[in-house]
């Protein structure tokens, strides 16, 4: 028997200190600029970039700052602040579930340090004690360790990388850990890959195949708990799949998945406040909106049109958006439908709980 899972809204870091609330209420707009490196490979990509976090406000000691790099610091700052909004001391049976970007060598500019293009010179450059703890900074899960240390989280955990499905899986695992009774509280969220020329090389096949693509650096967290508090909404179902079909009829397979959601007894005859689509490309949006039908389509929000592609942060931003939409709702649901970059597909059903 699954337990109810209550969701506590957390912090979302967006570029230019833009608040998620202002975007959802159309009072603000997230600015982006052209990504010049993408021009070199003849692609049009726009980016919104986050400022660095110095971690002083979360009391991180020097070692934490030395063994974290920029994208880890976004996660540490927003994760720890979210946790401390609700908890002032370590909690029993608390866990941590995060979608992470990966760490590359852009901050080190490795090839530029090599005097001559030989293995000996590469070794000389790499062995120089510029940053003796670079190993830990390169390890993306160091962000998980730092958050655990600063928040006092010692329980079950799982981190994933590098793109949207990483955040999706993290939130699913956090949900199950609470629903199945293994944890009482879980800090769940994700942070985007930092946008650099190196990441453009790694993700070209994904990012650069669409015109005027918008990438946003971001981090976002919420807390899942088995304890209800006033005005905390409940996640009542999650689902994850890939919609790859044996006959490669992906449109049909996706329509089937959406129909499974809309036909679910969980939402039958219930008021749907919003349907949030996140990570969907144009084709996926068209198929999904069509499959939702006119009534649900009229309540659909394509989150990426407000915040861009926020990668492993995206699903947590969608869930925090759902909690915002439910803020004044006496009853009803928000359905979050998330799309990964390799035909992954996930759903979160979040119910108003404003008794």
């Amino acid at each position: 028997m699954l337990k109810p899972v209550y969701l506590f809204q957390g912090e979302t870091l967006l570029a230019h200190s833009t608040s998620l609330e202002s975007l959802l209420t159309h009072k603000g707009r997230l600015m982006s600029t052209p990504f010049e490196s993408a021009d070199l490979i003849n692609h049009s990509i726009f980016i919104s970039t986050l400022a660095d976090e110095n971690l002083k406000d979360v009391g991180a000691e020097r070692m934490v700052r030395k063994t974290s790099e920029r994208q880890a610091r976004w996660l540490i700052a927003s994760g720890v602040r979210t946790w401390r909004t609700y908890f002032n001391e370590p909690q029993n049976k608390s866990g941590l579930f995060i979608g992470l970007g990966t760490v590359d060598c852009d901050e080190e500019d490795n090839p530029e340090l090599v005097q001559e293009p030989t293995a000996e010179c590469l070794a000389t450059a790499m062995l120089e004690e510029r940053r003796p703890l670079v190993c830990l900074a390169l390890l993306n899960s160091s962000a998980t360790s730092h958050i655990a240390q600063l928040a006092g989280i010692t329980g079950e955990n799982m981190s994933f990388s590098p793109l949207l499905s990483a955040g999706l899986n993290a939130l699913c695992e956090g949900y199950f850990a609470i629903a199945e009774g293994r944890l009482k509280h879980a800090l769940c969220g994700g942070g985007s890959q930092k946008i650099t020329p190196w990441s453009l090389l790694a993700y070209e096949s994904i990012w650069a195949n669409q015109d005027n693509y918008w990438l946003s650096e971001a981090a976002s967290f919420f807390i899942a708990s088995d304890e209800p508090r006033l005005n905390q909404h409940a996640a009542i179902g999650v689902m994850r799949q890939a919609y790859r079909a044996r006959l490669q009829n992906n449109a049909h397979a996706l329509t089937e998945q959406v129909n499974r959601i809309t036909g679910s007894p969980l939402i039958e005859n219930q008021h749907v406040v919003k349907v949030i689509l996140v990570g969907a490309n144009l084709e996926q949006q068209d198929i999904t909106l069509h499959a939702l039908g006119d009534e649900l389509k009229s309540r659909a929000v394509v989150l990426d049109s407000y915040v861009g592609n926020t990668m492993a942060a995206a699903t947590a931003i969608a869930c925090n958006s759902a909690l915002s939409y439910l803020h004044d709702a006496e009853q009803g649901f928000v359905i979050v439908i998330a799309f990964g970059d390799h035909a992954e597909f996930g759903m979160f059903l979040i119910e108003a709980n404003n008794d």
Binding site: S37, L40, I41, M63, V64, T102, V103, D104, C105, N110, P111, E112, E116, A119, L122, M126, L127, P132, L133, V134, C135, L136, L138, L139, S141, S142, T144, S145, A148, Q149, A151, I153, T154, G155, E156, N157, M158, F160, S161, P162, L163, S165, A166, N169, E173, F176, P197, W198, L201, E204, S205, R240, Q241, A242, R244, A245, A253, H342, A343, E344
Partner: protein
């Protein structure tokens, strides 16, 4: 009502060669895959030993993966895992029944291979990034992580095998592969999936990554013991010895496996994970995270500590890990700790870092199947206070009904699997 979770397929590409048979026969015999090695062209490199895959990546692809349509760019670790996955699927006789399978794997940090870095280093310093972008097809090798995301292993498996279950790329430092197997176990147990392909592949045998480990003081570098350098629990252990490879398991619900008449190797009965929340640079001095992970595995398996006969230890051969792991085992198992067999497969195959838990889980499964505890080789004199039965030198026959497989990662990320002999 939850499902029982059974192991029905195994696959390994290890420094002993392609296949579970070559891996397990060598591990049973206590053979040593660690050998003299340094990064090609860097004779003076401080790390002078490793447990390497001997075959060239291109040759492995040609010999083992002819029936796969590989992506344009793919890192060699994904090749390792694909070879292991192919064997595991064939072993489970699942070729035509993979459709709904989920995939949970781990492949470590992105690999910036030395050859590609050197090709970039040939360029004028101010122009490197422009060159990398504009000349990327020529400048960067096909088998390089620079041009593929670190989930290439998971997504390639899903695409090549045309699976429609969920896909996970776990990032859990040295506990990553054990976490991936634990995730797969939980997904089947709750009924989210009937079949999961899980495991990992990794290699840190490159100048860049080994340099980072060297700067951290984690690597064994003494010449004193030649290829017997990986000496878990020994008084002269001096650090980890890197290895590389890929290992994959097929897990199924008991119902699914029995319905199709599958051969069942063993049962995954429990899983525990924890965080030290201590320091990113060292494990908790009392081993609290390790204790919690092992206790979680026992609790979810529904067994007492006294039921366990064997632990496949994390056993890295580093000064800190082996002391803390021993302390944690004593805390969890009390007086029973001295009745257990505790051995480190890393003594033979080196440390596969993110993937380490996968070959070790397979070794644990096969230890249960064959009722045989593999040895900790190169262990001649246990360090002071390290007084468990580490199955020194030579493996032995033993009755094993329940076992744990431990993985304790950098930054205090801990995971432990409970694996048992399968009974209907």
């Amino acid at each position: 009502m939850t499902n029982r979770v059974v192991v029905t397929g195994l696959g390994v590409l290890s420094p002993f060669g392609v296949g579970v048979d070559s891996f397990w026969s060598a591990v049973k015999a206590g053979e040593n895959a660690v050998d003299a090695w340094h990064p090609p062209g860097a004779e003076g490199f401080p790390v002078q030993h490793g447990a390497t895959i001997k075959q060239d990546t291109q040759a492995l692809v040609a010999e083992e993966l002819v029936d796969f349509k590989l992506p344009k760019h793919i890192e060699r670790r994904a090749i390792y895992a694909l070879i292991a996955a192919k064997e595991a699927i064939n072993d489970a006789r699942l070729e035509t029944e993979l459709g709904q399978a989920g995939i949970a794997v781990c492949s470590g940090v992105p690999e910036l291979d030395d050859a590609s870095l050197l090709a970039l280093a040939e360029q004028p310093k101010a122009n490197i990034m422009n060159y990398a972008l504009t000349e990327r097809e020529q400048a960067i090798k096909r088998f390089s992580g620079i041009r593929c995301s670190n989930d290439v292993l998971a997504t390639t498996l899903a695409e090549q095998l045309n699976t429609s279950g969920f896909i996970c790329n776990v990032s859990g430092a040295c506990a990553g592969a054990t976490q991936a197997i634990g995730l797969a176990y939980r997904a089947i147990k709750r009924g989210e999936a009937s079949v999961m392909l899980c495991g990992g592949a990794d290699s840190v045998l490159s100048i860049r990554t080994l340099s980072a480990l060297h700067l951290l003081g984690a690597t064994a570098e003494t010449q004193r013991f030649a290829n017997q350098l990986c000496r878990p629990f020994d008084q002269d252990r001096a650090g980890l010895v890197a290895g590389e490879g890929g290992a994959m398991l097929v897990l199924e619900s008991e119902q699914h496996a029995k319905a199709r008449g599958a051969h069942i190797y063993a049962e995954i009965t429990g899983y525990g994970s924890s965080l030290d929340a201590y320091k990113v640079t060292a494990p908790h001095p009392e081993g609290l995270g390790a204790i919690s992970a092992m206790e979680g595995a026992l609790q979810s398996a529904g067994i007492g500590a006294q039921n366990v006969q064997y632990i496949n230890a994390h056993g890295t051969s580093t000064p800190l890990n082996d002391v803390i792991e021993t302390k944690a085992i004593k805390s969890v198992f009390g007086k029973h700790a001295t009745s257990l067999g505790v051995s480190s497969t890393k003594s033979m195959i080196g440390h596969w870092i993110a993937a380490a838990g996968a070959p070790e889980a397979i070794a644990t499964v096969l230890a249960i199947r064959d009722q045989f505890m593999p040895a900790t080789i190169n262990l001649t004199q246990p360090d002071e206070g390290l007084d468990l039965d580490y199955v020194m030198g030579k493996g032995r026959e033993a009755s094993i009904n329940h076992a744990l497989s431990n993985s304790f990662g950098f930054g205090g990320i801990n995971a432990s699997l409970a694996i048992a002999r399968y009974y209907e």
